[in-house]
Protein backbone atom coordinates (compact mmCIF):
# COMPACT_ATOMS: atom_id res chain seq x y z
CA UNK A 1 0.00 0.00 0.00
CA UNK A 2 1.24 3.45 -0.83
CA UNK A 3 0.69 6.67 1.09
CA UNK A 4 0.47 8.62 -2.14
CA UNK A 5 -2.90 10.24 -2.91
CA UNK A 6 -4.01 10.42 -6.49
CA UNK A 7 -5.53 13.73 -7.52
CA UNK A 8 -6.97 15.27 -10.66
CA UNK A 9 -7.65 18.86 -11.59
CA UNK A 10 -11.25 19.87 -12.02
CA UNK A 11 -12.96 23.12 -12.92
CA UNK A 12 -16.21 23.90 -11.17
CA UNK A 13 -18.61 25.36 -13.70
CA UNK A 14 -22.26 25.83 -14.45
CA UNK A 15 -22.23 24.96 -18.13
CA UNK A 16 -25.84 25.77 -18.95
CA UNK A 17 -27.62 28.60 -20.71
CA UNK A 18 -30.94 29.35 -19.16
CA UNK A 19 -33.82 31.68 -19.72
CA UNK A 20 -34.08 33.94 -16.70
CA UNK A 21 -37.72 34.98 -17.11
CA UNK A 22 -39.38 38.40 -17.20
CA UNK A 23 -38.49 39.59 -13.67
CA UNK A 24 -34.87 38.56 -13.25
CA UNK A 25 -34.29 39.01 -16.99
CA UNK A 26 -35.43 42.65 -16.89
CA UNK A 27 -33.32 43.23 -13.75
CA UNK A 28 -30.21 41.84 -15.47
CA UNK A 29 -31.02 43.89 -18.57
CA UNK A 30 -31.19 46.95 -16.33
CA UNK A 31 -27.73 46.19 -14.97
CA UNK A 32 -26.43 46.14 -18.54
CA UNK A 33 -27.94 49.62 -19.00
CA UNK A 34 -26.47 50.85 -15.70
CA UNK A 35 -29.89 51.05 -14.00
CA UNK A 36 -31.00 49.16 -10.87
CA UNK A 37 -34.59 47.91 -10.72
CA UNK A 38 -36.85 46.74 -7.92
CA UNK A 39 -40.13 44.87 -8.27
CA UNK A 40 -43.47 46.03 -6.89
CA UNK A 41 -44.90 44.10 -3.93
CA UNK A 42 -47.64 44.97 -1.45
CA UNK A 43 -44.99 46.08 1.03
CA UNK A 44 -43.04 48.24 -1.43
CA UNK A 45 -40.39 47.79 -4.13
CA UNK A 46 -38.21 44.74 -3.53
CA UNK A 47 -34.56 44.90 -4.62
CA UNK A 48 -33.15 42.62 -5.86
CA UNK A 49 -36.45 41.56 -7.43
CA UNK A 50 -37.90 38.11 -6.89
CA UNK A 51 -40.74 36.53 -8.83
CA UNK A 52 -42.59 35.86 -5.60
CA UNK A 53 -43.00 37.89 -2.41
CA UNK A 54 -40.88 35.91 0.07
CA UNK A 55 -43.27 36.37 3.00
CA UNK A 56 -46.52 35.37 1.33
CA UNK A 57 -45.64 33.68 -1.96
CA UNK A 58 -47.78 36.24 -3.84
CA UNK A 59 -46.68 37.00 -7.37
CA UNK A 60 -44.75 40.27 -7.59
CA UNK A 61 -45.71 43.07 -10.01
CA UNK A 62 -43.84 45.25 -12.47
CA UNK A 63 -40.28 46.46 -12.27
CA UNK A 64 -39.56 50.01 -11.19
CA UNK A 65 -36.27 51.89 -11.52
CA UNK A 66 -34.56 52.55 -8.18
CA UNK A 67 -31.52 54.50 -7.01
CA UNK A 68 -28.04 53.00 -7.03
CA UNK A 69 -27.36 54.21 -3.49
CA UNK A 70 -28.17 52.53 -0.21
CA UNK A 71 -27.34 51.74 3.40
CA UNK A 72 -25.24 48.85 4.72
CA UNK A 73 -27.36 46.68 7.03
CA UNK A 74 -24.77 43.96 7.75
CA UNK A 75 -21.22 43.22 6.62
CA UNK A 76 -18.31 40.80 6.98
CA UNK A 77 -14.64 41.58 6.36
CA UNK A 78 -12.67 39.15 4.18
CA UNK A 79 -9.25 38.72 2.57
CA UNK A 80 -9.12 39.45 -1.13
CA UNK A 81 -8.60 36.42 -3.40
CA UNK A 82 -7.74 36.21 -7.06
CA UNK A 83 -10.88 36.99 -9.07
CA UNK A 84 -12.62 38.99 -6.33
CA UNK A 85 -14.36 42.23 -7.33
CA UNK A 86 -11.90 44.29 -5.23
CA UNK A 87 -8.11 43.80 -5.42
CA UNK A 88 -7.50 44.41 -1.69
CA UNK A 89 -9.31 43.19 1.47
CA UNK A 90 -12.95 44.24 1.45
CA UNK A 91 -16.40 43.59 2.91
CA UNK A 92 -19.27 41.52 1.64
CA UNK A 93 -22.39 43.36 2.69
CA UNK A 94 -26.14 43.50 2.59
CA UNK A 95 -27.16 46.88 1.19
CA UNK A 96 -30.69 48.24 1.57
CA UNK A 97 -31.13 50.14 -1.69
CA UNK A 98 -32.80 53.52 -1.12
CA UNK A 99 -36.58 53.42 -1.38
CA UNK A 100 -36.76 49.61 -1.43
CA UNK A 101 -37.39 46.72 0.94
CA UNK A 102 -34.94 43.84 1.24
CA UNK A 103 -31.19 44.15 0.78
CA UNK A 104 -28.75 43.47 -2.04
CA UNK A 105 -25.70 41.25 -1.45
CA UNK A 106 -22.52 42.76 -2.90
CA UNK A 107 -18.95 43.82 -2.16
CA UNK A 108 -18.04 47.13 -0.51
CA UNK A 109 -14.64 48.73 -1.18
CA UNK A 110 -13.26 50.97 1.58
CA UNK A 111 -9.65 50.96 0.39
CA UNK A 112 -8.69 47.93 2.46
CA UNK A 113 -9.38 49.63 5.82
CA UNK A 114 -11.94 47.61 7.82
CA UNK A 115 -12.15 50.50 10.31
CA UNK A 116 -14.13 52.46 7.72
CA UNK A 117 -16.90 49.83 7.60
CA UNK A 118 -19.98 50.39 9.74
CA UNK A 119 -23.56 49.26 9.79
CA UNK A 120 -25.66 52.19 8.60
CA UNK A 121 -22.94 53.61 6.33
CA UNK A 122 -24.03 55.11 3.00
CA UNK A 123 -22.76 53.50 -0.19
CA UNK A 124 -23.24 53.81 -3.92
CA UNK A 125 -22.72 51.44 -6.83
CA UNK A 126 -19.48 51.64 -8.83
CA UNK A 127 -20.54 50.59 -12.33
CA UNK A 128 -18.26 48.91 -14.82
CA UNK A 129 -17.73 50.68 -18.13
CA UNK A 130 -18.35 47.45 -20.07
CA UNK A 131 -21.57 45.78 -18.90
CA UNK A 132 -23.03 42.48 -20.03
CA UNK A 133 -26.16 41.96 -17.92
CA UNK A 134 -24.97 40.25 -14.76
CA UNK A 135 -24.40 41.11 -11.09
CA UNK A 136 -20.74 41.89 -11.72
CA UNK A 137 -21.79 44.84 -13.94
CA UNK A 138 -21.68 46.55 -10.56
CA UNK A 139 -17.99 46.22 -9.74
CA UNK A 140 -18.72 46.86 -6.07
CA UNK A 141 -20.19 49.54 -3.82
CA UNK A 142 -18.13 52.43 -2.45
CA UNK A 143 -18.56 55.03 0.25
CA UNK A 144 -21.11 57.63 -0.87
CA UNK A 145 -19.98 61.22 -0.23
Amino acid sequence: MTAESLSASYTVEFPFERTVGPTIGAFLGGLRDGQLYGVRTERGALCPPLEFEPGTGAETGELVPVADTGTVTSWTWVRARLGDPVPHDFAWALIAIDGTIGALFHAVDVGGDSGRMATGMRVRARWRAERVGQLSDIECFEVAP
Partner: protein
Protein backbone atom coordinates in the same frame (compact mmCIF):
# COMPACT_ATOMS: atom_id res chain seq x y z
CA UNK B 1 -49.69 7.12 12.74
CA UNK B 2 -47.24 4.29 13.32
CA UNK B 3 -44.74 4.63 16.15
CA UNK B 4 -41.27 4.81 14.63
CA UNK B 5 -38.03 4.78 16.61
CA UNK B 6 -34.29 5.02 16.19
CA UNK B 7 -33.03 1.59 17.27
CA UNK B 8 -29.33 1.87 16.36
CA UNK B 9 -26.78 4.51 15.46
CA UNK B 10 -23.14 4.34 14.36
CA UNK B 11 -20.66 6.75 12.84
CA UNK B 12 -17.05 6.76 11.70
CA UNK B 13 -14.53 9.14 13.27
CA UNK B 14 -14.70 12.66 11.80
CA UNK B 15 -11.48 13.21 9.89
CA UNK B 16 -10.21 16.38 8.27
CA UNK B 17 -9.38 14.18 5.27
CA UNK B 18 -9.61 10.43 4.73
CA UNK B 19 -7.33 9.66 1.79
CA UNK B 20 -7.22 5.93 2.53
CA UNK B 21 -10.82 4.90 1.92
CA UNK B 22 -13.27 5.58 -0.87
CA UNK B 23 -16.94 6.30 -0.17
CA UNK B 24 -17.91 2.66 0.22
CA UNK B 25 -14.81 2.00 2.30
CA UNK B 26 -15.75 4.70 4.80
CA UNK B 27 -19.36 3.57 4.94
CA UNK B 28 -19.13 -0.23 5.05
CA UNK B 29 -17.83 -0.66 8.63
CA UNK B 30 -20.37 1.89 9.88
CA UNK B 31 -23.27 0.01 8.30
CA UNK B 32 -21.94 -3.24 9.81
CA UNK B 33 -21.73 -1.66 13.25
CA UNK B 34 -25.29 -0.25 13.10
CA UNK B 35 -26.81 -3.45 11.71
CA UNK B 36 -24.98 -5.53 14.35
CA UNK B 37 -26.16 -3.17 17.11
CA UNK B 38 -29.74 -3.67 15.93
CA UNK B 39 -29.10 -7.42 15.77
CA UNK B 40 -30.57 -7.80 12.31
CA UNK B 41 -29.49 -9.34 9.03
CA UNK B 42 -29.27 -7.17 5.95
CA UNK B 43 -32.16 -9.03 4.36
CA UNK B 44 -34.41 -7.72 7.13
CA UNK B 45 -33.95 -4.10 5.97
CA UNK B 46 -37.03 -3.03 3.99
CA UNK B 47 -35.89 0.41 2.83
CA UNK B 48 -32.64 2.33 2.47
CA UNK B 49 -32.39 6.12 2.22
CA UNK B 50 -29.26 8.27 1.99
CA UNK B 51 -28.16 11.86 1.71
CA UNK B 52 -25.17 13.45 0.04
CA UNK B 53 -24.20 16.46 -2.07
CA UNK B 54 -22.76 15.94 -5.54
CA UNK B 55 -21.03 19.28 -5.52
CA UNK B 56 -18.29 18.21 -3.11
CA UNK B 57 -17.29 15.42 -5.47
CA UNK B 58 -17.75 17.50 -8.61
CA UNK B 59 -19.77 14.88 -10.44
CA UNK B 60 -23.35 13.76 -10.70
CA UNK B 61 -24.77 10.78 -8.82
CA UNK B 62 -21.59 10.59 -6.75
CA UNK B 63 -23.44 8.70 -3.99
CA UNK B 64 -23.80 5.66 -6.29
CA UNK B 65 -20.33 4.58 -5.14
CA UNK B 66 -21.67 4.24 -1.61
CA UNK B 67 -24.23 1.64 -2.72
CA UNK B 68 -21.38 -0.87 -2.93
CA UNK B 69 -21.43 -0.78 0.88
CA UNK B 70 -25.20 -1.20 1.03
CA UNK B 71 -25.46 -4.16 -1.31
CA UNK B 72 -28.05 -3.49 -3.98
CA UNK B 73 -28.39 -7.00 -5.40
CA UNK B 74 -30.89 -8.62 -5.37
CA UNK B 75 -32.70 -5.30 -6.00
CA UNK B 76 -33.55 -3.28 -2.90
CA UNK B 77 -36.02 -0.50 -2.20
CA UNK B 78 -33.80 2.55 -2.07
CA UNK B 79 -33.94 6.35 -2.23
CA UNK B 80 -31.58 9.30 -2.05
CA UNK B 81 -31.82 12.99 -1.19
CA UNK B 82 -29.44 15.71 -2.37
CA UNK B 83 -29.27 17.08 1.14
CA UNK B 84 -28.08 16.35 4.63
CA UNK B 85 -29.03 12.76 5.51
CA UNK B 86 -31.39 14.02 8.23
CA UNK B 87 -33.75 14.67 5.30
CA UNK B 88 -33.24 11.06 4.20
CA UNK B 89 -34.36 10.08 7.71
CA UNK B 90 -37.50 12.20 7.25
CA UNK B 91 -38.17 10.31 4.01
CA UNK B 92 -37.61 6.93 5.68
CA UNK B 93 -39.94 7.96 8.52
CA UNK B 94 -42.63 8.81 5.94
CA UNK B 95 -41.98 5.54 4.10
CA UNK B 96 -42.45 3.55 7.30
CA UNK B 97 -45.69 5.45 7.91
CA UNK B 98 -46.98 4.01 4.63
CA UNK B 99 -46.76 0.56 6.19
CA UNK B 100 -44.84 -1.07 3.33
CA UNK B 101 -42.19 -2.34 5.72
CA UNK B 102 -40.92 -2.19 9.31
CA UNK B 103 -37.18 -1.52 9.20
CA UNK B 104 -35.29 1.23 7.38
CA UNK B 105 -31.60 2.07 7.20
CA UNK B 106 -30.56 5.71 6.74
CA UNK B 107 -27.03 6.84 5.99
CA UNK B 108 -25.10 9.98 5.26
CA UNK B 109 -21.67 10.01 3.72
CA UNK B 110 -19.67 13.12 3.03
CA UNK B 111 -16.19 13.81 1.80
CA UNK B 112 -15.88 17.55 2.22
CA UNK B 113 -12.11 17.23 2.06
CA UNK B 114 -12.07 16.42 -1.65
CA UNK B 115 -12.14 19.97 -3.08
CA UNK B 116 -8.76 21.67 -2.90
CA UNK B 117 -10.53 25.02 -2.47
CA UNK B 118 -13.95 25.10 -0.81
CA UNK B 119 -14.30 28.76 -1.85
CA UNK B 120 -14.76 27.50 -5.39
CA UNK B 121 -17.25 24.84 -4.35
CA UNK B 122 -19.55 26.44 -1.78
CA UNK B 123 -21.02 29.05 -4.20
CA UNK B 124 -22.41 26.04 -6.14
CA UNK B 125 -25.15 25.83 -3.51
CA UNK B 126 -26.19 29.44 -4.16
CA UNK B 127 -28.67 30.76 -6.72
CA UNK B 128 -27.05 31.24 -10.14
CA UNK B 129 -28.26 34.84 -10.76
CA UNK B 130 -27.81 36.98 -7.66
CA UNK B 131 -25.24 35.13 -5.54
CA UNK B 132 -23.16 32.49 -7.35
CA UNK B 133 -21.74 34.92 -9.99
CA UNK B 134 -20.19 36.99 -7.18
CA UNK B 135 -18.53 33.83 -5.73
CA UNK B 136 -18.66 34.90 -2.09
CA UNK B 137 -16.10 33.42 0.31
CA UNK B 138 -17.30 30.11 1.80
CA UNK B 139 -18.16 31.69 5.18
CA UNK B 140 -19.23 35.16 3.99
CA UNK B 141 -23.01 34.74 4.25
CA UNK B 142 -22.62 33.20 7.70
CA UNK B 143 -20.37 36.16 8.58
CA UNK B 144 -23.21 38.54 7.67
CA UNK B 145 -25.52 36.48 9.86
CA UNK B 146 -23.09 36.51 12.80
CA UNK B 147 -22.64 40.27 12.46
CA UNK B 148 -26.42 40.73 12.43
CA UNK B 149 -26.88 38.39 15.42
CA UNK B 150 -24.37 40.41 17.45
CA UNK B 151 -26.06 43.64 16.33
CA UNK B 152 -29.40 42.27 17.53
CA UNK B 153 -27.90 41.49 20.95
CA UNK B 154 -28.37 37.72 20.59
CA UNK B 155 -24.71 36.94 21.14
CA UNK B 156 -21.25 38.54 21.13
CA UNK B 157 -17.75 37.54 20.03
CA UNK B 158 -17.14 36.56 23.67
CA UNK B 159 -20.38 34.56 23.75
CA UNK B 160 -19.46 32.79 20.51
CA UNK B 161 -16.02 31.88 21.90
CA UNK B 162 -17.69 30.54 25.05
CA UNK B 163 -19.86 28.26 22.89
CA UNK B 164 -16.75 26.98 21.10
CA UNK B 165 -14.83 26.46 24.34
CA UNK B 166 -17.73 24.52 25.89
CA UNK B 167 -18.28 22.36 22.77
CA UNK B 168 -14.59 21.49 22.35
CA UNK B 169 -14.40 20.51 26.04
CA UNK B 170 -17.51 18.33 25.70
CA UNK B 171 -15.94 16.69 22.64
CA UNK B 172 -13.11 15.31 24.82
CA UNK B 173 -15.56 12.51 25.71
CA UNK B 174 -16.50 11.90 22.07
CA UNK B 175 -14.11 9.44 20.37
CA UNK B 176 -15.45 10.45 16.93
CA UNK B 177 -14.71 14.17 17.33
CA UNK B 178 -12.36 15.83 14.84
CA UNK B 179 -11.45 18.59 17.29
CA UNK B 180 -11.48 18.49 21.07
CA UNK B 181 -9.52 20.41 23.68
CA UNK B 182 -9.74 22.53 26.77
CA UNK B 183 -9.19 26.05 25.56
CA UNK B 184 -9.54 29.47 27.17
CA UNK B 185 -12.03 31.91 25.75
CA UNK B 186 -9.34 34.61 25.88
CA UNK B 187 -7.03 32.52 23.70
CA UNK B 188 -9.81 31.92 21.18
CA UNK B 189 -10.47 35.65 20.99
CA UNK B 190 -6.80 36.26 20.09
CA UNK B 191 -7.25 34.41 16.79
CA UNK B 192 -7.62 36.40 13.57
CA UNK B 193 -10.91 36.68 11.69
CA UNK B 194 -11.65 34.52 8.66
CA UNK B 195 -14.84 36.40 7.80
CA UNK B 196 -15.46 38.88 10.59
CA UNK B 197 -16.81 38.47 13.24
CA UNK B 198 -16.13 34.74 12.59
CA UNK B 199 -12.78 33.27 13.57
CA UNK B 200 -11.58 29.87 12.40
CA UNK B 201 -12.87 28.10 15.54
CA UNK B 202 -16.35 29.62 15.02
CA UNK B 203 -16.61 27.63 11.79
CA UNK B 204 -17.47 23.94 12.20
CA UNK B 205 -14.58 21.99 10.66
CA UNK B 206 -15.62 20.30 7.40
CA UNK B 207 -14.34 16.79 6.90
CA UNK B 208 -14.99 13.17 5.98
CA UNK B 209 -17.17 10.64 7.79
CA UNK B 210 -20.26 8.48 7.51
CA UNK B 211 -23.21 7.98 9.85
CA UNK B 212 -25.91 5.31 9.90
CA UNK B 213 -29.25 5.22 11.72
CA UNK B 214 -31.56 2.20 11.82
CA UNK B 215 -35.27 3.00 12.17
CA UNK B 216 -37.97 0.51 13.06
CA UNK B 217 -41.72 0.71 13.52
CA UNK B 218 -43.98 -0.52 16.32
CA UNK B 219 -43.18 -4.07 17.55
CA UNK B 220 -40.06 -4.31 15.40
CA UNK B 221 -38.64 -1.33 17.31
CA UNK B 222 -39.47 -2.92 20.67
CA UNK B 223 -37.80 -6.13 19.53
CA UNK B 224 -34.60 -4.51 18.22
CA UNK B 225 -33.79 -2.06 21.01
CA UNK B 226 -33.95 -2.29 24.77
CA UNK B 227 -34.98 1.35 24.96
CA UNK B 228 -35.94 2.66 21.51
CA UNK B 229 -35.69 6.40 20.90
CA UNK B 230 -39.19 7.06 19.60
CA UNK B 231 -39.44 9.75 16.92
CA UNK B 232 -42.50 11.48 18.35
CA UNK B 233 -42.38 14.40 15.96
CA UNK B 234 -40.45 15.15 12.74
CA UNK B 235 -40.86 18.20 10.52
CA UNK B 236 -38.78 20.33 8.17
CA UNK B 237 -39.29 23.78 6.67
CA UNK B 238 -37.30 26.27 4.64
CA UNK B 239 -36.79 30.01 4.48
CA UNK B 240 -36.31 32.06 1.33
CA UNK B 241 -32.97 31.39 -0.31
CA UNK B 242 -31.78 34.97 -0.76
CA UNK B 243 -30.18 36.27 2.47
CA UNK B 244 -31.21 39.89 1.83
CA UNK B 245 -34.95 39.22 2.07
CA UNK B 246 -35.11 37.42 5.40
CA UNK B 247 -34.19 38.38 8.93
CA UNK B 248 -30.93 36.49 9.42
CA UNK B 249 -31.14 36.85 13.21
CA UNK B 250 -34.16 34.63 13.62
CA UNK B 251 -34.88 31.24 12.11
CA UNK B 252 -38.57 31.22 11.24
CA UNK B 253 -38.34 27.85 9.50
CA UNK B 254 -36.82 26.27 12.64
CA UNK B 255 -39.60 27.79 14.73
CA UNK B 256 -42.24 26.48 12.36
CA UNK B 257 -40.72 22.98 12.11
CA UNK B 258 -40.44 22.81 15.90
CA UNK B 259 -44.03 23.86 16.35
CA UNK B 260 -45.27 21.20 13.89
CA UNK B 261 -43.03 18.52 15.44
CA UNK B 262 -44.40 19.44 18.87
CA UNK B 263 -47.97 19.00 17.60
CA UNK B 264 -47.09 15.44 16.57
CA UNK B 265 -45.11 14.76 19.74
CA UNK B 266 -47.43 16.16 22.38
CA UNK B 267 -44.50 17.87 24.11
CA UNK B 268 -42.45 21.00 23.45
CA UNK B 269 -38.77 21.71 22.81
CA UNK B 270 -38.82 23.41 26.24
CA UNK B 271 -39.52 19.97 27.77
CA UNK B 272 -36.40 18.17 26.48
CA UNK B 273 -33.37 17.18 28.59
CA UNK B 274 -30.82 17.35 25.79
CA UNK B 275 -30.65 19.04 22.40
CA UNK B 276 -28.27 18.36 19.54
CA UNK B 277 -28.15 21.40 17.27
CA UNK B 278 -26.64 21.50 13.79
CA UNK B 279 -24.56 24.61 14.42
CA UNK B 280 -22.35 25.09 11.37
CA UNK B 281 -21.18 28.29 13.08
CA UNK B 282 -20.93 29.15 16.77
CA UNK B 283 -23.30 32.14 16.57
CA UNK B 284 -26.10 29.89 15.29
CA UNK B 285 -26.52 28.24 18.70
CA UNK B 286 -28.10 31.43 20.07
CA UNK B 287 -30.37 31.83 17.02
CA UNK B 288 -31.50 28.20 17.21
CA UNK B 289 -32.00 28.13 20.98
CA UNK B 290 -34.23 31.22 20.67
CA UNK B 291 -36.19 29.81 17.71
CA UNK B 292 -36.75 26.50 19.49
CA UNK B 293 -37.57 28.00 22.87
CA UNK B 294 -35.22 25.61 24.68
CA UNK B 295 -35.35 25.79 28.44
CA UNK B 296 -32.37 24.41 30.32
CA UNK B 297 -31.62 21.53 27.93
CA UNK B 298 -28.00 20.41 27.75
CA UNK B 299 -26.75 21.65 24.35
CA UNK B 300 -24.50 19.60 22.06
CA UNK B 301 -23.13 17.36 24.80
CA UNK B 302 -21.33 15.41 22.05
CA UNK B 303 -19.37 18.53 21.16
CA UNK B 304 -21.70 19.15 18.24
CA UNK B 305 -20.67 20.19 14.74
CA UNK B 306 -18.04 22.63 16.06
CA UNK B 307 -16.09 19.48 16.96
CA UNK B 308 -16.65 17.84 13.55
CA UNK B 309 -18.76 18.53 10.45
CA UNK B 310 -18.66 15.66 7.98
CA UNK B 311 -20.67 17.10 5.12
CA UNK B 312 -24.22 15.75 4.78
CA UNK B 313 -23.77 13.35 7.72
CA UNK B 314 -23.70 16.09 10.37
CA UNK B 315 -27.48 16.53 10.68
CA UNK B 316 -28.07 12.77 10.85
CA UNK B 317 -25.40 12.54 13.57
CA UNK B 318 -27.42 15.03 15.63
CA UNK B 319 -30.38 12.63 15.53
CA UNK B 320 -28.10 9.69 16.34
CA UNK B 321 -26.46 11.49 19.27
CA UNK B 322 -29.86 12.52 20.67
CA UNK B 323 -31.08 8.92 20.31
CA UNK B 324 -27.94 7.57 21.99
CA UNK B 325 -28.76 9.58 25.10
CA UNK B 326 -32.18 8.00 25.19
CA UNK B 327 -30.80 4.46 24.58
CA UNK B 328 -28.59 4.69 27.65
CA UNK B 329 -31.16 6.43 29.86
CA UNK B 330 -29.27 9.71 30.24
CA UNK B 331 -32.29 11.50 28.75
CA UNK B 332 -36.01 10.81 28.55
CA UNK B 333 -36.76 13.48 25.98
CA UNK B 334 -34.41 14.89 23.38
CA UNK B 335 -34.42 17.28 20.46
CA UNK B 336 -32.33 16.99 17.31
CA UNK B 337 -31.98 19.77 14.75
CA UNK B 338 -30.47 19.59 11.29
CA UNK B 339 -29.79 22.29 8.73
CA UNK B 340 -29.02 22.52 5.06
CA UNK B 341 -28.15 25.40 2.74
CA UNK B 342 -26.53 28.70 3.70
CA UNK B 343 -27.13 30.58 6.96
CA UNK B 344 -29.76 28.15 8.29
CA UNK B 345 -31.92 28.30 5.17
CA UNK B 346 -33.53 24.85 5.63
CA UNK B 347 -34.20 23.31 9.02
CA UNK B 348 -35.44 20.00 10.38
CA UNK B 349 -36.54 19.30 13.93
CA UNK B 350 -37.01 15.88 15.58
CA UNK B 351 -38.47 15.32 19.03
CA UNK B 352 -37.48 11.98 20.55
CA UNK B 353 -38.66 10.17 23.65
CA UNK B 354 -37.80 7.04 25.63
CA UNK B 355 -40.31 4.95 27.52
CA UNK B 356 -40.07 3.58 31.05
Amino acid sequence: MRDVAVVAFAQSPCQAANRRDDMAGILLPVIREAVDAAGIGRDEIDFVASGSHDFYEGRTFSYIDSLDAVGAWPPISESHVESDAAWALAEAWSWLQLGEGDIALVYGIGRGSLPADLDQVMPAQLDPYFLAPLAPHRDAIAGLQAHAAIGAGLTSEQGMAEVVSRCLASALDNPHAQRSERVDVARLLDAPYVSSPLREHDVAPIGDAAAVVVLAADDAARRLAERPAWLRGVDHRMDTHYPGVRDLTESLSTRRAASRAAEFAGFLPSDVDVAELHTEYSHQEAILAAALGLNGAELNASGGPLAGRPVTATGLIRIGEAARRIFDGRADRALAHATNGQALQQNLVCLLEGEG
